[in-house]
């Protein structure tokens, strides 16, 4: 039995005074916030090319002739910001789903959102299509549509019998939808040309090299909305992770909290995947590591994971773009190579 997180611990921090939780929250945010900010400030200064920051920020050189400035502002900065946005969205979605499903192995991709997004992206990569949805180009737009479709199907299945979401149905429906959509993806790939299959496979490995601010601007509203919903959740998550009945007994509107958790986590995941592809391991490693460091209270875990997730993905992408330059390592490979062994170590150590 894996008992890694809050599901096993029922001594809830209710008794703790408001002042004390505020103090802990403040110190956590300062600690993890500093880490995130330092990572995001340092990351654009490093890369496969060495640039001069003074030259990059020199306004007397016209921008279209300033290579250093373009590397800094067009290549690196959007990439680091995308890493921060995606990392914090995936880590937070992981925290929320692990608590709601009472399953420490839940990830943002457990409920089929990423498979839906992948199918959308595959279809455009393989069959082509030159449409755009506002600032979204074809591939991200299609993956967002795919994610929305998968979320809607899972939600409908899990709420069909009555008002509340059945977490077991949610899990099973999500896992089944994942395999089903993966089968369709395989079929679509089988019909395609080698070059397109390769590109499709590459998309699944994740990529933060967005090369402009437009994709960020497109994803930002979704992520902001998801985080606004996350902010309503921590106390209910503390109780939900103990059990539905316990939560209901303590006055939590369980169906509402579950819907909120599911919708917000799906929104964050969809935005992240459409921006950068399904980057694995962030959504499972970061929450567990954070719980190890700060305990199980979601009022602390959630903001800490959001900040740590940003730092983690930005750091992984830094390795991805520098280790083998001029060739890059797909960022999803880096997160998995760091995250996989680390997670196994965590499992062994705990049991």
């Amino acid at each position: 039995m894996i008992t890694l997180d809050s599901t096993s611990e029922s001594s809830l921090p209710r008794r703790m005074g408001r002042a004390s939780i505020r103090g802990r929250l403040l110190s956590t945010i300062i600690g993890f916030g500093t880490l995130a900010v330092v990572t995001c400030v340092l990351a654009p200064l490093v890369g496969s090319t060495s640039i001069s920051l003074t030259r990059a920020l020199d306004p007397s050189i016209p921008f279209d002739q300033n290579v250093d400035a373009q590397i800094f502002f067009v290549a690196r900065l959007p990439r680091v910001l995308a890493g921060a946005l995606v990392g914090s969205a995936l880590a937070s979605a992981g925290v929320v789903l692990q608590a709601m499903l009472r399953n420490p192995l839940a990830t943002p991709f457990t409920l089929g959102v990423s498979a839906g997004a992948s199918l959308g992206a595959m279809l455009v990569i393989i069959f082509g299509g030159a449409f755009a949805l506002g600032p979204l180009s074809a591939v991200p737009a299609a993956s967002l549509i795919g994610a929305a479709g998968a979320t809607a199907v899972v939600y409908w299945l899990a709420t069909r019998h009555g008002h509340a979401i059945s977490t077991s149905v949610l899990l099973l429906a999500g896992v089944t939808l994942n395999s089903f959509l993966s089968a369709i993806i395989m079929f679509v790939q089988y019909l395609a040309d080698f070059a397109q299959v390769y590109r499709a496979a590459r998309w699944i490995m994740g990529d933060l090299d967005i090369g402009s601010y437009d994709p960020l601007i497109a994803s930002l509203p979704l992520v902001v909305l998801a985080f606004a919903l996350f902010a309503l959740l921590p106390s209910s998550l503390n109780l939900l992770s103990v059990g539905k009945d316990a939560a209901a007994a303590r006055g939590v509107d369980v169906p509402r909290a579950q819907r909120l958790a599911f919708v917000s986590a799906s929104l964050a995941t969809a935005a992240a995947v459409s921006l950068a592809g399904p980057i694995g391991f962030v959504g499972i490693v970061v929450p567990h590591l954070v719980r190890l460091l700060v305990g199980v209270d979601h009022r602390i875990v959630l903001p800490a994971s959001a900040l740590f997730g940003a730092a983690f993905l930005v750091a992984c992408d830094l390795l991805a773009r520098t280790l083998l330059s001029p060739v890059e390592i797909p960022v999803g490979v880096v997160t998995a190579m760091i995250g996989g062994p680390f997670f196994l170590w965590l499992l062994v150590r705990k049991s």
Partner: protein, 295 residues
Amino acid sequence: MAARSQKLVALVAFAVVVFLVDASRAQDQAPASAPRRIVSLVPAITEMLFAIGAGPQVIAVSSYDEFPPEVKALPKVGALIDPDTERILALRPDLVIVYGSQSDLEKQLERSGHRTFSYRHGGIPTVLNSIRDLGVATGHRPEADKLASSLQSRLDAVRDRVKGRAQLRTMLIFERQQGTLRDVYASGGVGFLNEMLTFAGGRNVFADVSRESVQPSVETMLARAPEVILEVRASGLIEKTPSPERDAWSALSSIPAVRNQRVHLLTGDYLVVPGPRLAAATEAFARALHPDAFK
């Protein structure tokens, strides 16, 4: 005059080597009789077969074959990862052309007594040698030798035409996500595209990367600062002004090619197939790189 005679000596030496190599090959592979039922699973080879006059002997091709137009009427028997072995055997071929990685299929065919011809993509020398080998294997040796030498002389003519002009630092792109600069695939310093670029008077900005393809990040593209960006695609991407695909580059204005409007978009399946049309493709590259040399 001295340079000319040196060149002649080199040419003769080359011809002798080719002859010797060919003679030994011819002994190894000399067919009892020329095959009359050829199945080709490699589109580039299909093109070569038709170009050396072995087209009428081809009875089936891969599912990706589109050129020459005659192949459209032929049965399709799968391709690299999904060859339809049963159908191939049912067609009673006397020569099956397989790709180098299809070793299982090759063994299976050899066990059942079928002659095979294995091929792997390589540089231009591989293409020319394959044409000569196919000539021997199919009984079209004179035509094949003629085609190979005419391709070589067309390539040399392109090189001579742009000789003395600045070797432009070029990024040769063959794939990217439409309308964006994500998912960019460029030619590395190995392979036929890189060699064609060199004949056409360009210097690959990724010549130092000893792979066929590179996936450069935006940062790498900015840092390599190519003077010309040559984008080639089998289909899609059409050169027109204003072009949304060219506009995708405008964000990277510090790249000289972008600033000086030297982003060239070329479309056509002949551009990306390592077959008998590669001389035409090299000429197209050279026209884009050095338009003045063709006035």
